[in-house]
């Protein structure tokens, strides 16, 4: 009986894998997750957050004093991170009015307290998404802010790190099926590769090439004109994402620590349970 079942389960598993592979996945860079418990990186991220993000975005659930957990003292928080007259026992609110923000940007910038968790999906991790998004801005003259984004097309948010990052060029390749009319007037579906080359000024050159075979999808490639600056920004964004990740669940560290104790305890529990079971069931035949 077990063999027949096993075969069916395996078949199911394989069918599910085949389906899962078919799912379309955005091309995301991996955030270096080792930074998650690197206190220096978290502190650098906190500085970047307070300087660059916490003007348009709030973190209403985050108390300043909680930054003790990543090794910052009240003195440091007050002198280095709080720019207004807030006290360390308050939460990270902002002065910008929601309605003004909506008028200015077309959309109220979301609160960032749990943003990493909010961007988690079954397909990708929220940290990878935000890490790619913050580094995925390119100049595009067709948008209102003059910036566009490879993972979030027509994003309302402008590029915050543009001065630090230096000029970059982008090659965006998209393979799609298009309806093409041939000489005798009938239309048919044809795989077309569209390559858009954005220069550092946001001017775009587009080429269309029909493909005989291949698959649909989109790919992008950045070329930095100031590689040293771009690398520095990569590191800075990685630290920032580490901070955002920590902020979305500040209790995660203690959770893991208690979890280890709980698992160890349960191994003991199982050992005692095994022994008890054996002793009590000795006389059952």
């Amino acid at each position: 009986m077990n063999k027949a079942f096993l075969r069916l389960w395996m078949g199911t598993a394989m069918a599910l894998c085949a389906l899962a592979i078919h799912a379309e996945e955005a091309q995301l860079d991996k955030w270096p997750s080792g930074l998650a418990d690197d206190q220096a990186a978290l502190q650098r991220g906190a500085h970047t957050f307070a300087t660059y993000c916490l003007n348009c975005h709030s973190a209403n659930l985050m108390r300043w004093s909680r930054l003790h957990d990543i090794g910052l003292s009240d003195q440091q928080i007050k002198s280095e991170l709080i720019f207004g007259d807030q006290r360390v026992t308050e939460t990270m609110t902002i002065a910008m009015d929601r309605h003004d923000a909506k008028n200015w940007f077309g959309k109220t910038p979301p609160d960032l307290s749990v943003i990493i968790r909010a961007r988690n999906t079954v397909e990708h991790g929220g940290a990878d998404y935000v890490y790619t998004l913050l580094r995925g801005f390119y100049r595009d003259r067709s948008t209102q802010t003059g910036w566009n984004n490879v993972v979030y097309p027509s994003i309302s948010m402008p590029h915050i790190f543009w001065q630090l990052q230096g000029p970059r060029e982008l090659t965006l390749t998209r393979n799609e099926f298009e309806d093409v009319a041939d000489s005798n007037g009938t239309t048919h579906s044809q795989l077309v590769q569209t390559v858009s080359m954005f220069d550092s000024d946001g001017k775009v050159k587009v080429t269309h090439t029909p493909l005989d075979h291949g698959s649909t999808g989109s790919f992008y490639q950045f070329k930095s004109l100031d590689p040293a600056a771009a690398t520095a920004v990569n590191a800075q964004v990685a630290d920032l994402v580490a901070f955002l990740d920590w902020m979305s669940e500040p209790t995660a560290t203690i959770r893991h620590r208690i979890g280890m104790v709980a698992i160890l305890y349960l191994f003991g529990f199982i050992a005692v349970g095994y022994w008890l079971n054996k002793v009590f069931w000795r006389d059952v035949h």
């Binding site: 027949a4 069916l8 389960w9 659930l61 749990v114 208690i258 349970g273 008890l276």
Partner: protein
């Protein structure tokens, strides 16, 4: 005024003399309840379900101390529990992980019943009450899932309540009445809170008690599917029975260690379970003006949700012909003329409603989807009467019965998986095939379950070490 004659001494004796029913209940349900001695792995899940119920009630009490059922505060109060309440994250994850584990455990418990025919005579009521627990559990989790007031909470509830809209005539008014508003709002949140923390839990506890009473009246089934009460020893006790306490209390305690290992591994190291137990979208506050691009219910509803989505108007033609096939089979089984007429007329009406174009405007595919989704849950309750196999346990049934059951499990899992994904034509077709199998498995059971060569059932239970 004499005291009850007690068999205990000391404090226990003092207590028993004044309230003999307490110890009598303990004896009836624990120390002198005889359970078959050949329970295997699958028999853990009933006890586990009881433990999860206790976890949910316990953690729920503490959550309700800090949670605010107010549409302006609900989302933030949950995050407040996660951050500012001492140990709040632990209580919250206990509850959210417990909800998913409740369904894992209950599904496995139900599968056990299907493996060994535990719903067969005389245990029909045990199964029926168990099915009611399952239905109450679904209601409980549906109400509870609105409470965090995230995007998925909001839009998931929206989709489910809108299902009532499909009912002709009264539908729209009915769904407004359920919501207490024209959209899901504060009124909905408050009533769902009330239903979640008091109404349904009371029903659940009552049903669980009834489930156990009904079981202990008829006695437990076992992996061999034979009645241990048929073979009594000279002392009047079943030869193959052992007292539940201490044998199975100790045994379940040991099994509970493994259960808690899995539960804690998720709770402490993957409470989101990769976005399946806690969905990313639910960390965004509910926004009535922004519909998420993809709405899916939580994983434990997705098999049924898949059936709802698979029911397209093209699929109804197939369902119509399947209904005729089933109608003919039933017709041929019946002897009484009146019943035959009734079945023939019923089949004809169903076929017309499903396939004739004009009638399908009256009863559209959406309504049939809701109907089939409801049926897919209800049909589980009918198992005791659908299964006509001469033996209870899968062990003594023909091998191809095991294959049918295996495919059924595969179809159920595939439906569940598809329900989490956005639909596309290939996935819809696969879901339709699985839906057809799901219903075919149940509705044709009165025929297929009698067929084949059955193995001889032993007189006495077999123990694992004796079998191999």
């Amino acid at each position: 005024m004499g005291l009850h004659q007690t068999r205990y001494t000391g404090l226990m004796g003092w207590f028993d003399a004044r309230m003999p029913s307490a110890m009598a209940a303990f004896r009836q349900h624990m120390s002198e309840y005889y359970a078959p001695k050949n329970f295997n792995f699958w028999y853990f899940f009933g006890s586990f379900a009881l433990v999860v119920l206790v976890i949910q009630i316990f953690s729920g009490i503490f959550l309700a101390m800090h949670y605010k059922p107010d549409s302006a505060q609900a989302f933030w109060s949950v995050e407040f529990i996660m951050r500012e309440v001492q140990g709040g994250w632990f209580i919250r994850y206990m509850h959210s992980t417990g909800a998913s584990f409740f369904f894992i455990v209950v599904y496995l418990h139900m599968y056990r019943g299907m493996l060994y025919g535990s719903y067969r005579k005389p245990r029909e009521l045990v199964w029926l009450i168990g099915w009611m627990i399952f239905a109450a559990l679904m209601a409980e989790s549906f109400f509870g899932y609105l409470l965090p007031w995230g995007q998925m909470s909001y839009w998931g509830a929206q989709v489910i309540i809108n299902l009532f809209d499909t009912i002709p005539k009264i539908g729209p008014d009915l769904s407004t009445w359920i919501r207490g508003d024209f959209v899901i709002g504060d009124a909905t949140l408050n009533r769902f809170f009330s239903l979640h923390v008091i109404a349904v839990p009371l029903v659940l506890i009552g049903l669980v008690a009834a489930h156990i009473f009904a079981l202990h009246d008829v006695g437990s089934n076992n992996p061999d599917g034979i009645e241990i009460k048929d073979r009594l020893g000279p002392d009047g006790r079943p030869l193959d029975g052992i007292p539940f306490h201490p044998y199975y209390t100790v045994h379940d305690l040991y099994g509970l260690g493994y259960f808690f290992l899995a539960y804690c591994a998720v709770l402490f190291f993957a409470p989101e379970m990769g976005g399946v137990f806690l969905e990313g979208n639910n960390f965004i506050p509910a926004d009535p003006f922004q519909t998420p691009s993809h709405i899916a219910p939580l994983w434990y509803f997705t098999p049924f949700y898949s059936i709802l989505r698979a029911t397209t108007s093209e699929f109804m033609y197939w369902i119509g012909f399947c209904a005729v096939f089933l109608g003919v089979l039933i017709y041929l089984r019946l002897q009484r003329r009146a019943l035959r007429w009734f079945v023939a007329a019923g089949t004809f009406v169903m076929f017309c409603l499903m396939t004739v174009h004009n009638l399908r405007d009256l009863v559209d595919a959406r309504l049939w989807g809701v109907f089939l989704m409801g049926m897919s849950v209800i049909v589980i309750a009918l198992l005791p009467w659908l299964d006509c196999s001469p033996v209870k346990s899968i062990r003594y049934r023909p091998n191809w019965h095991k294959v049918l059951l295996g495919i059924f499990v595969a179809a159920f899992l595939i439906l569940g998986y598809l329900g989490m994904l956005p639909p596309n034509p290939g996935r819809t077709l696969l879901a339709q095939i699985c839906t057809a199998y799901y219903f075919g498995f149940f509705f044709l059971m009165p025929w297929w379950s009698r067929m084949g060569v059955f193995k001889p059932v032993p007189d006495r239970v077999t123990l694992a070490h004796a079998r191999t």
